[in-house]
Symmetry: C2
């Protein structure tokens, strides 16, 4: 039950971890790369290290220390620092560039496509990711994700959790913040959206960080919805 009865017109989705399984996808593709290039690296640790570099890199952009750089550029900056550390040698520039774009080829969680299709029947559904537009468009083609449109922090030159990203997305869709719901597996993202007046839906993704990491999956009474996955969210919203 929503804590406040609101009319939700649009749902905007966090993507990395919420819609797609970044960790599993990167490990799978890197293992295949390792086999074909005879590189023996700890790909699980590599995926985790790459992701761990993401938030600090964005923080440097948010603080103004770095000029605006999109996520492809930030991913590449982090990757360049990891190749040597993980003993990933002998890749050409084209191969490194292709590896960097593994983030364009992440696989959706098993419920994502079906859940989005259900939610799309009654609502505008869009991304609101820190990933750049081209990354999100390529990922949607790869995973056949049926977005009505792709919105990105890139459009506002403000990364989440800056309020400009949430408020910019609502305005661009032509709705009041209270008519838009942020959907995410991350409570900090939802808290920031909530502070901007958006509705919130928490979706549990217990395996986002792999089988060993225990995540905070507790439902929160002040989120409008707490759902198991996107199909469950669609069912709850239709109830």
């Amino acid at each position: 039950m929503p804590s406040v009865q609101r009319r939700i017109h649009a749902l905007i989705f966090d993507v990395f971890g919420t819609v797609v399984d970044w960790r599993g996808s990167i490990i799978r593709e890197c293992r295949a790369l390792g086999r074909s290039k005879k590189i023996a690296a700890d790909w699980d640790a590599f995926a985790d290290a790459w992701r761990a570099g993401y938030r600090p890199a964005m923080a440097r952009v948010r603080s103004g220390e770095l000029p605006w750089m999109n996520i492809d550029q930030l991913h590449r900056m982090i990757l360049d620092g990891l190749l040597g550390k993980f003993g990933i040698d002998g890749l050409t520039e084209d191969e490194i560039d292709h590896l960097n774009r593994v983030w364009h080829r992440l696989d959706p969680w098993p419920d994502a496509r079906k859940g989005l299709a259900l939610l799309k029947r009654r609502h505008v559904i869009a991304t609101l990711s820190n990933g750049n537009v081209s990354l999100l468009v390529n990922m949607a083609k790869h995973g056949r994700l049926p977005w009505d449109t792709v919105l990105s922090a890139e459009l506002f030159h403000h990364y989440k959790p800056d309020p400009e990203a949430y408020l910019g997305a609502a305005a661009m869709l032509g709705f009041e913040p209270s008519e838009v719901m942020m959907v995410a597996a991350h409570k900090d993202d939802l808290r920031a959206a909530q502070a901007c007046g958006l509705a919130t839906a928490f979706v549990r993704r217990p395996r986002e960080k792999g089988p060993k990491v225990k995540l905070d999956l507790k439902p929160e009474a002040d989120f409008d919805y707490n759902a198991k996955d996107f199909v469950d969210l669609a069912r709850r919203m239709a109830a």
Copy 2:
């Protein structure tokens, strides 16, 4: 046959007149409004006058005479000037606002949905319209247009034919201008895209301005494609 053999990754589409039948849609909806509100206006002339105000209004934004205003705002400015002239009286503010959003509810040409679905199989397909994002998203829901994403002059604060719109769209999709093709029923839009290095596809829409207005439908040898409609374009691109 393309005049230059290029690899086209993405197609970006003009929308008003190219994808949707603005004139027919507006006349149909306004006639229904006239019947229900007992307003006898010349709706054909009204639709034409509304559209005729569009280019001069954008020119005032492009020249800097007006600050950035989106198309919903420009349509409303023009509409406010036409209501009295056409004897359209007695509408409430909500009804005028609803009428202004008729541009969000334009119907696609009969081939559009099928043609876009075919083109989407091999290419990224996106709008590049002067219409604002929310207008284009609502229109896509209304007409079930399967865009990969919605791009708009609104994202660049530059209306077509400013080069920033074409170059901005290509960059946002992550492609070189030569890897992107502009699709339009209007030669001036295609010429501006071509000057930015984009490929061009001309699609004939003989009824855009109604049955009485003869349009320039002549194929041009320096456009990469000249097509009858979107299905024909898909067929030619697959050949």
